[in-house]
Amino acid sequence: MMHHSALLLPMVILPLAGAFVLGVLRLATVRERGMAAHHFGIIAAFGPILSFLLALGLLVQINGLPGHDRVLSQSLYQWFAVGEMRVNFGLMADPLAVLMVLFVTFVGSLIHIYSIGYMKGDPNAGAFFAYLNLFLGAMLILVLGSGPLVMFVGWEGVGLCSYLLISYYNDDRANVAAGNKAFIVNRIGDLGFILGLALLFWAIGDTGFDYADLRERAPELTPLLALTVGLLLFIGATGKSAQLPLYVWLPDAMAGPTPVSALIHAATMVTAGVYMVARFSFLYMQSVPAGVIIAWVGILTALLGAIFGMFQRDIKKILAYSTISQLGYMFVGVGLAAYSAGIFHVFTHAFFKALLFLGAGSVITALHHQQDIWRMGGLKKRLPITYVTMLIGALALAGVPPLAGFFSKDEILVAALATGHPVIWLLGILVAGMTAYYTFRLIFVVFHGTPRDAHYEEVTESLRVMTIPLMILAAGAVLAGFINLPPILGGHQLLSHWLGLEAHHSPHIKLELLTILASLTVCAVGIGIAYRRFIPTAVEPVYHGFARFAEAKFHVDELYDSLFVQPLLGAGAAIRRVVEPRIVDGPVQAVVWLYRAGADAVSAVQSGYVRVYAIYMVVGVGLLSFAVYRLLVG
């Protein structure tokens, strides 16, 4: 039994309306000097903040429902009807969606506010804020959709906004190329997603293609079909959530403004794949192998991201590879059917990764768009608020208790061990150590040691409008972990119970203890190595051998370029050179030639000479007369 809620539609509509208003304002004022950037920003902040308040209302509403039946829905209209099938455009919220909506609108609001400061003086800020609002609207559609098709609308909407915002500084060709790369790589993933949806529809979708219906009919799927659908959908997730082998777009996506990196490419959009797998948990429960494959892809991505992250020199790229790595963890969680653990990590990660990105943005603006960590250093004194908040974020990311990352990461690792995947567990522990290392490498190089920036003396702390969101997020990064405290630490796993995504399993005290000890050890080792290397002074290292190979990201981009991009470009050029003129244009030109020739032949009759027309007339009269004569005489 579904319960109606009128809060869902306004929550989605508000940011979309904001985007519309901002777009109109932007177009209306673009010819004149334009509105000031912060005016646009203030208008833009309304949508997310109001949506967040509505999300709180939704939380209250859903908690008022009995524990086993917590689904709110709002059917809007019939989208299309084919034969017996009717697909409705509706919104739906269960605890999973409510959690997503809560942190999406919360982090989104903070990042909108932060952007008011970050985008100050930008002449195109109107477009920026319009895209940002549009993104939020699309993200809410994705999360709150009542069926896979509605989700797909949001899925593509966030992809579009991601593309628009990555290419936002479109004066530079490289940024446009980065946007294109993100868009194209996501198309590859989306193809898998569409195929998966089509297969699912073909199998069990004919009675109404929404989650409630699919959940009931999921047991009808054969194991092979469940595996295929599950993996096809996961291909979509690898595109959107930057997993192997489609992760390559995310580091390049850092070309966009830093608030965009924080909101879209760290906290919200890239976790859509994880959300999707959790949303289709009923499907993945039918196929354990699909989940195991997802988990393996996740842990390998986590390992690869961590390796790359250790050798980068661009502050945002370090964070980007860290995001890829952490997304890998989340897929380990959802892949091994520990949905609440995966989603919990999504939740905590949103706070500390958004915090780290926003802090990095603060550093970058303070240093006038310097992103190379080897040009920074000693900023602790100059940027105290940024330093403290980023340190909190780094501790949370590294997994230092009792901050958020510690709990969520360990829960995933416990799940890996509990489901019998010790190799995944081992790799996870290894990645945790690497994470601690590269995070503190960043902190130490940027904030400690001696200044390396020429303008060091002029550096001042960012505006209040930027630092306050940092502080709020830092508080979130500290506290977010406590909502799902495991029993071993005196908690009750509140979030897992509330989400109710999987059958409750008894706690594995031994496994948890082992995991906690192991992760604390590697965390300490990682931070220790970083400390030994970069304190008191960090020297820019020259990489050799494997490190150099890792710094070059294993040449994966070059490999993809020569494996896929160049052959496809070559094929395109060949088609343009051979197929287009001969096979496509040829017949068309032949038809054109035919009509030309016909027209020439007919127009020869029109000689323009008066007497020739007279001759035609006489010949006509002659023939007519002959016919009449034959009629009369013969």
Partner: protein, 98 residues
């Protein structure tokens, strides 16, 4: 005698048509058209005599009036054409060429 007048009428009309077709001189073409009108007129007169009716005569008069109007306009056009092209050749005037 009347049927011979009719034969003559046919002959004059056909000669007029031939004139229009064969000649390139604007004046001759114009006069060939007049010849066709006259051939028709002769037919009217002959039939009027045959049927003892005045209507043929009246028609002949009207044709003459039309011919006079046509002559006034055609000659004005010929003067204009001659002014523009300096030629009396109908083949020079081929603006309708397709």
């Amino acid at each position: 005698m009347i049927e011979h007048a009719l034969y003559l009428s046919v002959a004059l009309f056909c000669l007029g048509v031939l004139g229009v077709i064969t000649r390139r001189n604007v004046f001759v073409v114009f006069m060939a058209i007049e010849l066709m009108l006259n051939g028709a007129n002769l037919g009217f007169i002959a039939f009027a005599r045959l049927h003892e009716s005045m209507d043929g005569h009246v028609l002949a008069l009207l044709v003459m009036a039309v011919a006079a109007a046509e002559a006034a306009l055609a000659l004005a056009v010929i003067i204009l054409l001659h002014k523009h092209k300096g030629k009396l050749d109908t083949n020079v005037f081929n603006l309708l060429r397709g």
